[in-house]
Subunit: 201 residues, 2 copies
C-alpha cells in the first residue's frame, strides 16, 4: 500500500505530457478553436482516440495547460518578491523574471493569456482568481515602493497594470530567432520598469 500515485504505469504520464505539449503548441499557433483533437493526437504520434484515454475533453486539456501556467507564473512572481525586502530590488526581480518567462515560455504563455475565452465558466473563474492574485502581488510591490519613497509615480495602480501588460505582451511578439534573448529582455525590461515607477537613483 504505497498510495494511489504508484499505481499508474510510467508510460502513461509521459504520453499524457506529450499530449499536453502538443496541445499547447497547437493552441498557441492556431488557437483553441482552430485546433482539432486529431491535430493534437497526430502531433503526439497517436491515434485520435488516444486523446480521450488521457484527458476528458479538449477543453480539459486547455484547462490543465492554463492552470499549470498560471500557477507557475504566480510562483515565479512570489519567488522574485521573496528574494529581498527592498521594493526596488523586488521590482527588478519581478519584472526581470516575468518578462524573461514570457519570452522563454512564449508558446504556453500565449495560450494562457489569449485563450481564456475558450475555458468553461468554472475553469475560467478558477484561473481568473489566480490572475487577480498575480495582479495584487505586483501592485503590492509598486505600492510599497511608493509608500517608502523609493518610487515616485502619480498613479501606482496604472503603473502596475502597465508593467504587467508589458510583460504579458512579450509572449505575443517574441520570436526565438530575433535579436534579444529572454534574459536580455528581462534585464532591459527591469530598467524600463524602474523608470516607469520613477525609482530614485
Amino acid at each position: 500500500m504505497t498510495g494511489t500515485a504508484a499505481r499508474t504505469r510510467p508510460h502513461a504520464d509521459e504520453t499524457r505530457n506529450r499530449l499536453m505539449d502538443a496541445a499547447a503548441a497547437a493552441f498557441a499557433e492556431r488557437g483553441f478553436h482552430g485546433t482539432s483533437t486529431r491535430d493534437i493526437a497526430a502531433a503526439a504520434g497517436l491515434s485520435p482516440a488516444a486523446v480521450y484515454v488521457h484527458h476528458r475533453s479538449k477543453e480539459e486539456l486547455l484547462h490543465q495547460i492554463s492552470l499549470r501556467g498560471h500557477v507557475a507564473t504566480l510562483e515565479l512572481m512570489r519567488h522574485a518578491i521573496a528574494s529581498t525586502d527592498d521594493p526596488t530590488g523586488q521590482l527588478i526581480a519581478v519584472v526581470r523574471s516575468f518578462a524573461a518567462y514570457h519570452a522563454r515560455a512564449n508558446t504556453s504563455a500565449r495560450v494562457i493569456n489569449y485563450e481564456l475565452a475558450a475555458l468553461s465558466e468554472d475553469h475560467l473563474a478558477e484561473v481568473l482568481e489566480i490572475r487577480r492574485t498575480i495582479t495584487a502581488e505586483l501592485r503590492g510591490v509598486v505600492e510599497r515602493g511608493v509608500a517608502s519613497g523609493a518610487f515616485d509615480t502619480a498613479n501606482p495602480r496604472l503603473a502596475a497594470t502597465a508593467l504587467l501588460s508589458l510583460g504579458i505582451d512579450v509572449a505575443r511578439w517574441y520570436r526565438e530567432e530575433r535579436e534579444w534573448s529572454p534574459d536580455d529582455i528581462g534585464t532591459q525590461y527591469a530598467d524600463l520598469a524602474l523608470r516607469m515607477v520613477g525609482a530614485q537613483r
Copy 2:
C-alpha cells in the same frame, strides 16, 4: 457615367457594414474560428446566406476588418507625428493617440492584433507590411529623439518595441466600465513613455 461606386444601392452598404461590425464583435469575443457565419448573420439580423451576398467568405470578412484597422492605425500614427517637429511632442502625441485608440476601439483592435494567424497567406503578408511601417514610424520618433539629445536610452529599438507593445496590449485588458477612460490612459501612457525613453525635462 459617374463611376462604378455610384451603382450600389444605399441599403447594400449599410448592410455590408452591419455584417462587418457583427463579425468584428464576434471575432473579438470568441475568435475567428470560434465564430460561425451563422453567428455573424444572426447578429446582423439576417439569414445565414446573406453573408455571402455581401462578402466572398468568412476569411474575407476578417481581412476587411484587419485591413481597415491597420490602415486607420497607421494614419492615426502619422497624423500624430505630423502635429509637431519636436521628438518629445511627437512621442507624447503618438503614444497618447495610440493607447487611447486601443482602449476606445478595443473590440476591433483585438481582432487586428490577435487573429492574424487566421488570415490567408496573401492577406497576412499585406497586413504585416503595414505593421512593419507602423513599427518603423514609432522607431523613427524614438531614434530622432535620441539623436537630438531629447531622449536618453541605451536601446532605442527595444524601447520602441516596448512602447508599441504597451499600446497594443491595452486592447486586451481594457474594459469600458473600469476606472480609466481611453483619454486617461492616453495621457498617462504618454507620461510613462517619456520616462521610458529617458526624456529630458
